[in-house]
C-alpha cells in the first residue's frame, strides 16, 4: 500500500449533506431573531429605498408611487439639480480629509508606540475629541472660527501668522472647507491613531530587532517592517475613515448649511435636503442607493489594493 493516501478510482460521487446535524437547527433558530432584527433595520430600509428610487413618491405634492423608471437617477447625475456638484465636492473632500487624517493619525500612532513617560495618559487624552458628539464639536468650532472674537484668529494673531483676519465660515468656499476639514480632522484623527496604534502593537518586536541587526535605517525599517505588517490595520482604518468622510453630514449641517451658496453641499446633505426639506422621497432614495453602491465600490477597491501580496 502506498504511503500516499489516494482516493480509489471508483469512489461514489459526493452528495450535499442536507441533513441537520444535532444542534444545528437550534443554532439557526437562536440566531434567527438577531438576523431578522438586523434584516429589518438594514435590509428593509434598503429595499424600501430601492423601490422608492424608481417611483415618484412625494407626499406633499401627491406623488402616489407612480413608476418613473430611471428619472430619479437621472436627476442625481444632472447638473441642473446640483447633485453632481455635491457628489464632486464629497469625493474631493473624501480624498483630502482621509489623506490628512491618515498621515496625522499614523504619526501620532508611531509616537504613542514609543516608550515614554506618561504614554498611558497621552493615549487616554488623545481619545477625548473622538468622544465629543459631532454637532457639539461643530458648534464649538463655529465659536472658535468666529472672525470677531474666535480663538483661531486670536492665536494666528498672537503667533504673527497670516490669516488672522480671515472670515472662515461662509465667506469663501476654500476657507469654509478648510474650517470643515479642521473640525473633522480634530475629531477623527484620534480614531485613526487608535486603530493604527493597535496594529503597531501587534507587530512582533523580533522583526525590528532583526532589522536593527541587519543595519536597516529608520526609513528602511518603516518601509520594510512597519508598513507591510500594518496593512490589515491600515485597510480597516482606511475603509472606516473613507466611508465616514464620504458620508459627512453633521458638521456641514451645523457649521455651514451647505454654504456659502452651494459650495459645501455634500451628497449626504442633498439626501437630507430631498427627504426632509423638499419631501422628494424618490430622488432622495435614488441618492441613497447611489451612495450604497459607491460605498461598496470603495470597500471593494481597498480590499483589492491592500490584499496581501502572494
Amino acid at each position: 500500500m502506498s504511503a500516499v493516501d489516494v482516493a480509489p478510482a471508483t469512489a461514489p460521487r459526493a452528495r450535499r449533506a442536507l441533513r441537520w446535524r444535532p444542534g444545528e437547527r437550534t443554532g439557526y433558530a437562536m440566531a434567527s431573531p438577531a438576523v431578522i432584527a438586523l434584516a429589518a433595520i438594514t435590509a428593509y430600509p434598503l429595499l424600501w429605498n430601492l423601490w422608492t428610487s424608481f417611483h415618484d413618491v412625494d407626499p406633499l405634492t401627491g406623488g402616489t408611487g407612480q413608476f418613473v423608471g430611471l428619472s430619479n437617477y437621472r436627476a442625481v447625475f444632472s447638473s441642473q439639480t446640483g447633485l453632481l456638484a455635491a457628489l464632486m465636492h464629497t469625493l474631493i473632500y473624501m480624498v483630502v480629509s482621509v489623506t490628512v487624517e491618515m498621515a496625522l493619525g499614523l504619526g501620532i500612532a508611531l509616537l504613542l508606540n514609543r516608550p515614554m513617560r506618561g504614554r498611558a495618559l497621552c493615549r487616554t487624552l488623545i481619545l477625548l475629541p473622538w468622544a465629543v458628539p459631532t454637532v457639539v464639536s461643530a458648534l464649538v468650532w463655529q465659536t472658535l472660527f468666529d472672525p470677531q472674537g474666535g480663538g483661531v484668529n486670536y492665536m494666528l494673531s498672537m503667533l504673527h501668522l497670516p490669516g488672522s483676519h480671515t472670515v472662515w465660515i461662509g465667506a469663501t468656499a476654500s476657507a469654509t472647507w478648510a474650517s470643515i476639514l479642521v473640525a473633522d480632522a480634530w475629531q477623527s484623527t484620534p480614531f485613526v491613531a487608535l486603530m493604527l496604534l493597535a496594529g503597531l502593537q501587534a507587530i512582533p518586536r523580533e522583526l525590528y530587532e532583526a532589522a536593527r541587526v541587519d543595519g536597516a535605517s529608520a526609513w528602511q525599517t518603516f518601509r520594510g517592517v512597519t508598513l507591510p505588517n500594518l496593512r490589515p490595520a491600515l485597510m480597516v482604518t482606511l475603509v472606516f475613515r473613507t466611508l465616514q468622510a464620504f458620508l459627512i453630514f453633521d458638521i456641514i449641517y451645523a457649521l455651514t448649511q451647505g454654504g456659502p451658496g452651494t459650495s459645501t453641499q455634500t451628497i449626504s446633505y442633498m439626501t437630507y435636503y430631498n427627504f426632509i426639506v423638499s419631501d422628494n422621497f424618490g430622488v432622495g432614495a435614488a441618492i441613497s442607493i447611489v451612495m450604497v453602491i459607491v460605498c461598496l465600490l470603495i470597500a471593494g477597491v481597498y480590499r483589492v489594493l491592500l490584499r496581501p501580496s502572494t
Partner: protein
C-alpha cells in the same frame, strides 16, 4: 487525508447552502413587507393628496361631550418648556380654558423648539400615518401652504372667516392659501430696524440714508463692529432680509425683475461697496446678532421684536437709546418681513367643535395682551394693543408701527424648495461668489417652475 479534506469541504458547502437558504428566506419576507408597506403608504399619500376637506371627517365628537384634544406646541408647554416664558403662558392658557370648559381636556405634546425643520417632520409623520391627532398644531407660517395643498389641515373660513379684519393683514395673508383661511396667527413678529439714538441722530427714511447714518456712526465711533448689522447666516433669515429690503412680497414666478435686483444689489453693496457691514456678517446668526446692538457694538440692527425688551433691560448698554422703525425699503415704502407662529387644525380631527372653542379662547384680545405682557410675544390681533399693554411694555408703541407694514413671505406649497434656492442665491451674493444679476438670473430659472406648480 485528501478524502477527509474533500468531505470537510462538502460539509462547509452544505452549511453555506443552508445559511444562504435561511438568509434568502429572511430577506424575501422583508422584501414582501417592504413592498406591501410601500403600496399602503402610497395609498395613504393618495388619500392625503385629495383636495382639501371642506367638511370635518365623520364621527365628530360634539362640543358638549367629555373629550381630550391634543395640542402640538413647539418647545412644549409649562415652566420647563424650551422657550421659558412662552411655554409657561401657554400652560396658563390651557389651564384657564379647561376651567371654563370642564368637559374638554387639552393635552399638550412637545415638538422641536430649536429646529423648524425637525418640528415640521415630527408633525408630518402624524399626517402621513393618517393620524387624527394632534388636533391643533403650533405651526410655522411656511408650513401652511404645503399642508393645505396636501389636504392635511382643515380650512377655518366657517369659524373665523368673518374675523379676518381683526388681525394684521400680513398675518391673514400668511395663513391664507387658495383664498381659504387655513391658519390663525397666534402671535406676531416683524423684522424691523433698530438704531442707537446716540449714534444715529435721525430716523433714516431711505435706504441711502441708512448707509449714510451707518457710515457716520462708524466714523464717530471706530470701535464699532458694524454700522449696520443683520443676520447674514445661510438660513431663513436671508429670505426675510430680502423681503424687508425689497418692501413687498418676493415675486417667485418672475424673480428676475428690477426691484428684486435692486434689493439684492443693495444687500451686496452694504458689504462690498459701502463697507458699513463687515464680511463677517455671513457668520452672524440669530440670536447672536442681538448682543451686537445691546452691547453697543452696532449702530443699527435689522432684527425681530425680542431685542427691544433686552435692549431696555438691566445690563444693556443702550437703555433709553433704542429706536425701532420699519426698514425704508428700496421700493420706497417702509417694510418689515412678517414672522410669528400660526395655529392650524388637523383635517382628520374628530374634535372639530372643541378645537374651534379652544382656538377662539386663544384668539381673544385679552389672552393675547396677557401673553404679550407675560412673555413678550406680540399680539396678532389689532385690538390687543391696549393702553394696559403700552403701560406694561411701552416698547410696543414703537413695535406696532412696524407690525402694521409687515410683508408676508411667499405663500406657496413648494416654499421649502423655494426658500432653499433663495438662501443659496443670497448666500452666494453675500459671499461675493456671484454678482447679484448672475445669481438672480440663475435662481429665477430654478424657482419659476416651483411658483407655477402651486
Amino acid at each position: 487525508m485528501a478524502a477527509n479534506f474533500r468531505a470537510a469541504r462538502r460539509v462547509r458547502r452544505a452549511h453555506w447552502f443552508k445559511a444562504r437558504l435561511a438568509l434568502i428566506g429572511a430577506l424575501s419576507a422583508v422584501a414582501v413587507a417592504a413592498c406591501g408597506s410601500s403600496s399602503s403608504s402610497s395609498a395613504t399619500s393618495k388619500s392625503a393628496s385629495a383636495s382639501a376637506a371642506a367638511k370635518p371627517v365623520s364621527g365628530q365628537v360634539p362640543a358638549s361631550a367629555k373629550q381630550t384634544i391634543v395640542f402640538a406646541v413647539q418647545g412644549g408647554a409649562g415652566a420647563s418648556a424650551s422657550f421659558g416664558g412662552e411655554g409657561e403662558f401657554t400652560e396658563k392658557e390651557i389651564v384657564s380654558f379647561e376651567k371654563a370648559h370642564p368637559n374638554i381636556t387639552v393635552k399638550p405634546i412637545t415638538i422641536s423648539g430649536s429646529s423648524v425643520e425637525v418640528a415640521r417632520s415630527q408633525v408630518q409623520n402624524y399626517f402621513l400615518a393618517g393620524d387624527s391627532t394632534p388636533d391643533v398644531i403650533d405651526s410655522d407660517q411656511t408650513w401652511v401652504a404645503p399642508w393645505a395643498r396636501a389636504g392635511w389641515i382643515a380650512p377655518l373660513d366657517q369659524a373665523f372667516g368673518a374675523r379676518r379684519s381683526q388681525w394684521f393683514p400680513a398675518a391673514v395673508a400668511a395663513g391664507t392659501y387658495n383664498h381659504h383661511l387655513y391658519a390663525l396667527s397666534w402671535y406676531y413678529n416683524a423684522e424691523g430696524l433698530y438704531y442707537n439714538t446716540s449714534l444715529v441722530h435721525a430716523a433714516p427714511t431711505t435706504p441711502q440714508q441708512v448707509v449714510a447714518e451707518a457710515h457716520a456712526a462708524l466714523q464717530a465711533d471706530p470701535s464699532l463692529k458694524a454700522g449696520f448689522a443683520f443676520d447674514g447666516y445661510k438660513d431663513e433669515g436671508l429670505v426675510t432680509l430680502l423681503t424687508t429690503v425689497l418692501g413687498h412680497p418676493i415675486d417667485v414666478a418672475h424673480l428676475d425683475n428690477p426691484a428684486t435686483l435692486k434689493a439684492l444689489q443693495y444687500i451686496h453693496d452694504l458689504v462690498y461697496k459701502y463697507g458699513v457691514t463687515p464680511k463677517a456678517v455671513v457668520d452672524w446668526q440669530l440670536p447672536a446678532t442681538q448682543p451686537l446692538f445691546t452691547n453697543g457694538q452696532a449702530a443699527m440692527l435689522l432684527d425681530w421684536p425680542y431685542v427691544y425688551q433686552i435692549a431696555e433691560s438691566k445690563g444693556s448698554k443702550v437703555i433709553g437709546k433704542t429706536a425701532y422703525i420699519p426698514f425704508p425699503s428700496v421700493s420706497g415704502v417702509p417694510a418689515a418681513a412678517v414672522g410669528g407662529d400660526m395655529l392650524t387644525v388637523n383635517a382628520h380631527t374628530k374634535h372639530m367643535a372643541a378645537v374651534i372653542e379652544f382656538l377662539q379662547w386663544l384668539e381673544t384680545p385679552a389672552n393675547q395682551t396677557a401673553r404679550a405682557i407675560f412673555s413678550g410675544d406680540p399680539p396678532s390681533l389689532l385690538s390687543a394693543y391696549t393702553p394696559a399693554l403700552f403701560k406694561a411694555a411701552p416698547y410696543f408703541r414703537q413695535e406696532v408701527h412696524v407690525f402694521k407694514v409687515a410683508v408676508a413671505r411667499p405663500v406657496n406649497p413648494n416654499y421649502e424648495q423655494i426658500t432653499a434656492d433663495l438662501q443659496n442665491m443670497i448666500s452666494s451674493v453675500l459671499a461675493n461668489q456671484q454678482s447679484p444679476a448672475q445669481a438672480l438670473q440663475s435662481t429665477a430659472q430654478q424657482v419659476a417652475p416651483l411658483a407655477s406648480s402651486s
